[in-house]
Amino acid sequence: MLRSQRIEALYALLFLAPFLIHLGVFFVFAFVRTLGFSFTDKTLIGQSYQIVGFANFIQLFQDPRFIAALTHSISFMLIVTTLQTFLALSMAAILNQRLRGITFFRTVYYIPSVLSSAAVTVIAIWFFQKTGFLNTFIGWIGSVAPVLLTFVAIFVLAQAVQVAWERIRGLPVALTDPALATISLAVGLALTWLLAALGVVVPREAQPPEFTWLTNSDRFLGVPIPLWSIIMLNTFTTIPTLMLIFLAGLQDIPKSIYEAAAIDGASPLQQFFSVTVPMLRPVTFLVITLSLIGTLQMFDQVALMGDAAPLDSIIVLAYYVYNNVFSGEGRVGLASAAAIILAALTFAIVLLQRALGISEKAH
């Protein structure tokens, strides 16, 4: 190595020193130590401890609470990722337009993502209370359902009649023709208003809310209702971030491909599935990975729920680890074993993504 190179390497080490020390203590050492603890019976208060081999891992899989945490974490991860990806992609597709004021809307949608999870969770717990706003809203939808359904029926009918009429006249219009839909909307609103004013269609009496979101012991699709509440909350707050990533990806797709598809007679829906979805595959991949890793770490929402929901119905891996360290005598050994499983799950996802990512590029 040349002398100048050696000096440069020394300077690089100097520049990197604070970061490397931090990384060494709070990541490398931390990881190795956690791995070590997971084979011992160390507690937070006890001074000495012994190596117990795989006893902690065996004990974990005999603990019903750990099994609950593991299944919750995995189902939470899969459900939230699926919901987020679909919703974020469809929202990004709507927002990917060159229209005036679109930046303003993008900014507005991002607000739930920048606010602190603690504040948002407090608001969400209020939202999910028995007489909170969610039940109020559901009750309101139920009471105006007759009016809403009338409107939808008139709208669909008006659209069908118009499309049929235009086609008879020889104009090849799509079922979703936006200009005709605007007229249908006006007709629907006017007729519904008239029927409501005449008293033909009236809202029903609003029912008091019955559904409990947080203290419910029922399950839906095998997942406890309180966890569904957290799923809804988490999806709501993270969609905007993923949507922005999708938007950035959408804007990298050349316009000419769409134009070529349009000349070939592809409808907007066909364009979406045969141009947008394949071109967006790398970004989708990234979004799914980010979402899988992010949802596995979910902690704040569960911790803030506190006694608002029974712990066994919302506990996830991250909270299981925390709870074991900071309750009772502080079972560090057991908690470390659970932490290692959490880390292993994360590694598995990253490796899976790497493996699939390479084959992706080969095609």
């Binding site: 337009q97 949608y109 991002y110 999870s117 090849p172 936006p178 506190g306």
Partner: protein
């Protein structure tokens, strides 16, 4: 398909296409508006809830006493009369407050004078209850209640009359200033509350008993009652200092310290990774990227013990040390330094300047945009950091940061169902981030999409 089956008819003319474009734009705007309601609506209704006396009232009302300008004006005036303080009100020597209340009495019943009392009432159900507060009841003298008018009216389909009574509340003699002037008015059976100078905070027993948290509240004390309570009621039992102010200050200190350390350490490390040669550089960078995926929840146990051994638990310094520099920040700075041209620094290096001088004199001034973005992202991340605070700070309430404080409030007030205070504190804790977001929204939106795509 359908088009081919049909006879060749009219062509798609220009006007038709233009109409379609306009209609499509209108539908897109409609969809965007609906999405805006979806993302902002929940916060709006929760904000309305935070203004209410009972945020869980059923049915939910969008318009209530605290949103009515009539009550704002009255609260302002009453605050001025009570303690010459139109903002937060009070009850001070020399106060003489006129008050009117009207009742609806059905036909066939003789109206009777209601009973007015200034009760002794402790503040709140939670932390505030342990503090002794000057009670207005000790000094208030309520004048005789007089009937000032009657008019016939139909209320709820029932014919009857509305009877208005008037009285005054005076501060007798000299004494300390009371922060609130609680008021209860109880009417005999059959009389239903109709209106008053200031709408009451609670109506009980079918509108017979109306009670006010304070009859001289001031504008903020009435319209933002729960927000004022966050500062006044939640106080440290030992020192009497407001928890919320303390937590805000703590969060600011942690954020500023972490932003400073991150800016310095991350730009140093990012520069070394982007520009300097040393063996194993690519492996190191791959490792740094890898560490970004490992959740903090998986490795916090050792970090907790390290901070315990250093004596940094329950201390803000613990938060700062643990968060001093993150792999993500180094990554952002490395990406930025790779994007600037090499020529400038090479010129400086040829002139014989050491890498350290070059870095601080030439590189850092050029990196202002990246440092600005990093400042904002780091500040926002630390302001919202809950997990590290829950690990490091638990126990000593005076040292909490805002997210942990909110969780403490949730446990302290959740049992009593005091949602007004919890919602108000959640909104108050968001204000700095909302301001930051409004001013620097570009950094937030661009930071997310570009850094994620490159990663």
């Amino acid at each position: 398909m359908a088009a081919q089956v049909m006879k060749p008819g009219r062509k798609l003319d220009e006007r038709y296409l233009a109409r379609q474009r306009w209609a499509r734009a209108a539908w897109v705007y409609g969809a965007m508006l609906a999405l805006a309601v979806f993302f902002i609506g929940p916060f709006y209704v929760a904000y309305l809830g935070s203004l209410k006396d009972n945020p869980l009232e059923w049915p939910f009302r969008y318009s209530f006493a605290q949103t009515q300008p009539k009550n704002w004006a009255a609260a302002w005036r009453l605050g001025q009369l009570g303690a010459s303080n139109p903002w937060t009100g009070g009850f001070a020597p020399g106060a003489n407050i006129p008050f009117q209340v009207s009742y609806f009495v059905e036909d066939g019943q003789e109206p009777q004078t209601p009973v007015v009392t200034v009760p002794t009432r402790r503040a709140g159900a939670g932390l505030g209850a342990i503090f002794d507060e000057v009670q207005a009841a000790q000094y208030a003298r309520v004048s005789e209640v007089q009937e000032v008018g009657r008019r016939s009216a139909v209320v709820g389909g029932q014919p009857g009359q509305i009877v208005t009574y008037s009285f005054t509340i005076a501060y007798e003699g000299q004494g300390p200033r009371a922060p609130r002037l609680p008021l209860d008015i109880e009417a005999p059976r059959g009389q239903v509350y109709y209106s008053a100078t200031l709408d009451p905070n609670r109506l009980e027993r079918r509108g017979r008993v109306a009670s006010w948290d304070s009859a001289a509240p001031g504008l903020l004390g009435y319209a933002f009652r729960n927000y004022v309570r966050v500062f006044n009621e939640a106080r440290d039992p030992n020192t009497g200092a407001s928890f919320f102010l303390r937590w805000t200050l703590n969060t600011f200190l942690v954020c500023v310290a972490v932003v400073l350390t991150t800016l310095l350490f991350a730009s140093l490390a990012g520069y070394a990774l982007a520009r300097m040669y040393f063996p194993g550089k690519n492996y190191l960078f791959a490792f740094v990227v890898f560490t970004m995926t490992v959740p903090a929840q998986a490795i916090f146990i050792s970090n907790y013990l390290v901070l315990r051994d250093l004596g940094l638990l329950s201390s803000l310094w613990g938060m700062v040390v643990w968060s001093a520099v993150g792999a993500g920040a180094v990554f952002i700075m490395k990406q930025f330094f790779e994007s600037i041209p090499r020529e400038i620094e090479e010129a400086a290096l040829i002139d014989g300047a050491s890498p350290i001088t070059t870095f601080f004199r030439i590189i850092i001034p050029m990196a202002t945009p990246a440092l600005g973005a990093l400042t904002i992202l780091t500040f926002q991340g630390m302001w919202n950091e809950f997990f590290k605070a829950a690990v490091v700070l638990s126990g000593q309430q005076g040292n909490y940061t805002l997210p942990l404080g909110l969780s403490f409030f949730r446990n302290a007030y959740g049992v009593a169902g005091d949602w007004g205070l919890m919602l108000a504190s959640a909104f108050l804790s968001m204000i700095p981030i909302i301001i930051l977001f409004v001013v620097f929204q570009r950094y937030f939106v661009e930071g997310v999409s570009t850094s994620a795509l490159k990663g």
